[in-house]
């Protein structure tokens, strides 16, 4: 499958400051791709290069399978972190203008603006000047502006900031709708719980380098200690796949004890489950203990992590 956006060995410096060092990654159609990293890591530079706002010093960027070209950018939209709207302009006029810049005809642009304003619950402010909107309202209008051209790739940088829980839920729903319709979304955020809920694949950029890359599941699994939590009725059978057992919660009248099983070298959770079933153990709970994205992020940024990459065939799923 052709990647929607692909970076190959991209480098970029500002004077003596290196912003990106040989960064390569791909965004696939229909996926939600988490682009993560601490402030100043180079995420915005990477995004800007992908949108032809900045030119790389070296490396290649391909958009929809072809070298980066301006016409291809009509199929891409961007909600930057540092964002705003023209204050003295009516909401509908501002959105119509953005839609026109994405290549929509005048009537289509106006219709799409009206439809998306309704969709984000802002139809009632269409005729109001932008300066009269609250921060949350302005955020919703800008999200509508980024999505109204139904782009095949949308880059959302911190889309949840300034939104109340209802707003956050609405944006999450819009991102899921995009995935369901086969459209790709790059999500850059510091809210790791949202990453776990929404992203299919992630990359963590730190000091201009890609330090984590792969599917969410693979990244979490390969960053985790080989531990499985189980609740088993009766005694736990002796199994060669288990190196050590730690009781995390004692059992009581209502619940069986929670045991942390540290796998033996080379053992996998699937093999352990097979072994438990084979030993006729009555398993009430089986949970692979995965590192959270927050733990992975902190480890990667503090230098205790390691490059985690999914196999090539998995990355291209």
């Amino acid at each position: 499958m052709t990647a929607v956006l692909a970076y190959h060995g991209v480098r970029k410096s500002y004077g003596r400051t290196v912003a990106l060092r040989d960064v390569s990654l791909e965004v696939q159609p229909g996926e939600v791709f988490g682009l993560l990293g601490p402030n100043g890591a180079g995420k915005t530079t990477l995004i800007r290069i992908g949108l032809d706002i900045l030119r790389p010093d070296a490396g290649e960027v391909r958009l929809f399978g072809a070298p980066l070209h301006r016409d291809g950018l009509d199929r891409v939209s961007y909600l930057p972190e540092e964002r705003g709207l023209y204050k003295k302009v009516k909401v509908l006029d501002a959105l119509t203008y953005f839609a026109r810049l994405k290549g929509l005809g005048r009537k289509d642009a106006r219709r799409a603006s009206e439809r998306w304003l309704d969709k984000v619950g802002m139809g009632h402010v269409a005729k109001r000047n932008v300066e009269t909107l609250s921060k949350g309202m302005s955020q919703k209008v800008q999200i509508a502006g980024a999505l109204l051209s139904e782009p095949e790739l949308c880059v959302l940088d911190e889309p949840f900031s300034g939104l109340d829980p209802v707003g956050v839920d609405m944006v999450k729903q819009l991102i899921r709708e995009r995935r369901a319709s086969g459209r790709a979304t790059i999500l850059s955020t510091h809210m790791m719980n949202q990453v776990e809920q929404l992203c299919d694949r992630v990359a963590v950029i730190h000091a201009g380098e890609r330090v984590v890359y792969g599917t969410l599941r693979e990244v979490r699994r390969s960053s985790s200690a080989p531990v499985v939590r189980v609740r088993v009725e009766g005694d736990l059978p002796e199994l060669p796949q288990v190196a050590r057992v730690v009781e995390e919660e004692p059992g009581n009248d209502r619940e069986l004890p929670l045991l942390a099983l540290h796998l033996a070298a080379g053992g996998t959770p699937a093999e352990l489950l097979d072994a438990l079933v084979g030993a006729r153990a009555r398993v009430h709970h089986f949970e692979e203990v995965l590192a959270t994205m927050e733990e992975i992020f902190l480890r990667a940024v503090r230098g205790t992590g390691h490059e985690v990459s999914a196999p090539a065939e998995e990355a291209a799923e």
Binding site: R48, Y78, K87, D93
Partner: protein
């Protein structure tokens, strides 16, 4: 490759955005009305005042030591005064005593004194407008002393009303009876001047009204030049404002992810240029209207209106605007706020004003070496060509006009190419401004 659809969308938005603002509407349509009303009102008021002052009858003291006006036949008493105004003026000055003698000439009433003392006493009481003393050696020296009250007006119309009357009176008294009547009449009006201007083509044109011609020939170029410059700077100012607002409003990245910097720069230039051109047409319409009125007023006097300069001025506005606009856009984009961007572009505005600083030289010698030099400099070309064509169109060659147009087109092309590169860098600048070298490197103007 610039995409016309993007440029059109940007231009349309920028034009609508600026044209809907009340400040633009006020400046475009309100300013000419305001200035016409103000200047018209001021001129009418001053004209009315001067006419009233000129028609106001005042009594002046006359001490004639030379004995030129001592003939009793030309003097009369209060009862013999002609005209109610003269009588009212004498009455107001409380000079109705039987022995006082008066002479009325036009709107001037002279009263005779034997010596200065009595006259000056009345002057100090503000009962006389002034006291004229014709010296006893007048024939040898022509000396006439005028005494004025220090409480009187600083600028007086007396030199244009009273003194010519006194001058004619003295000439009349010296010559009448001594020479032929025809000589007296000619001495009183020695010259009826007719000016004829001859052109390089051998055409002759009567210029009877030198003052009106001077106003039309210098006033219109000056006004047209000032309007061209004001419209140029106004439209360029909108450009600086809009790009600074893009940065302040943080919409720059959204725009750049949809349109190339070249498209953005071109769209803004065209959209705001159209707004500036509309403004210029409205303002220039005022000048043309004034010129038409002057022509109608002076139809019998054959006063030349610089139609060729007026006709070509929109072209020079467009070229000048594109040149200054692209320079202002790229330098303005380096600022992080409207005031900062305006400061950065101040230098270009000062260069645009250069010909205005040279206006005296241009009006005096439009086709001299300075005029010719300024024609070839893109910063000063628009204003210089318009002024030169207005004053003496025959003095500027077609090669110079086309040369200036060509120079502006080339300079504009270079400015847009270089400007677009700086514009791309400038738009994304936030926080501290990079060094000039770093800026050039990022714009890929140097390695």
């Amino acid at each position: 490759m610039i995409r016309p659809s993007k440029v059109a969308a940007i231009a349309r938005f920028e034009f609508a955005n600026i044209a809907k603002r009340w400040s633009y509407l006020l400046v475009t349509f309100g300013l000419p009305i305001f200035f016409s009303g103000l200047s018209g009102g001021m001129l009418t008021l001053q004209g009315k005042f001067l006419v009233e002052r000129a028609e106001q009858t005042t009594v002046y003291g006359l001490v004639d030591r030379a004995g030129l006006v001592d003939s009793e036949a030309i003097w009369t008493d209060y009862a013999g005064l002609d005209g109610s105004r003269a009588r009212a003026a004498v009455l107001a000055a409380e000079l109705t005593a039987d022995e006082r003698r008066f002479m009325t000439l036009d709107a001037v009433v002279f009263t005779r004194f034997a010596d200065e003392a009595d006259a000056l006493a009345l002057l100090r009481e503000d009962r006389l407008g002034a006291v004229y003393v014709v010296g006893d050696d007048y024939l040898a020296t022509g000396a006439v002393t005028v005494y004025e009250s220090e409480t009187g007006p600083v600028i007086s119309v007396r030199s244009a009303t009273v003194e010519p009357v006194l001058e004619r009176l003295l000439i009349d008294r010296m010559l009448r009876g001594n020479v032929d009547e025809a000589i007296v009449a000619r001495a009183l009006e020695p010259m009826i001047l007719e000016r004829v201007t001859t052109s390089a083509r051998g055409d002759h044109r009567s210029t009877q009204n030198r003052a009106l011609e001077l106003i039309v020939r210098t006033g219109i170029p000056f006004l047209l030049g000032v309007l061209l410059l004001t419209a140029l700077l106004s439209a360029s100012g909108y450009l600086v404002q809009t790009i600074a607002l893009d940065k302040e409003s943080k919409v720059v990245e959204v725009l750049l992810s949809s349109a190339d910097p070249d498209e953005l720069l071109t769209g803004k230039l065209l959209g705001l240029g159209a707004a500036g051109l509309l403004q210029f047409f409205v303002w220039a319409g005022m000048v043309v209207g004034g010129a038409l009125a002057a022509t109608a007023l002076a139809s019998s006097l054959d006063v030349p209106v610089p139609w060729s300069a007026i006709a070509i001025s929109p072209l020079f506005f467009v070229l000048g605007y594109l040149f200054f606009g692209s320079l202002m856009l790229c330098t303005g984009s380096l600022g992080s706020s409207v005031p900062e961007s305006q400061k950065l572009t101040l230098g270009w505005a000062l260069l645009a004003v250069l010909p205005l600083m040279m206006m005296i030289i241009l009006l005096e010698e439009p086709h001299g070496s300075i005029g010719k030099l300024l024609t070839w400099i893109p910063f000063s070309a628009p204003l210089t060509v318009i002024v030169r064509m207005s004053i003496a169109p025959e003095g500027i060659s077609v090669a110079e006009i086309f040369g200036a147009i060509g120079m502006l087109i080339v300079s504009t092309w270079v400015a847009i190419r270089l400007g677009a590169r700086l514009f791309r860098v400038g738009l994304l600048l936030t926080g501290s401004r990079p060094s000039f070298r770093e800026l050039m490197r990022q714009a890929r103007l140097i390695d």
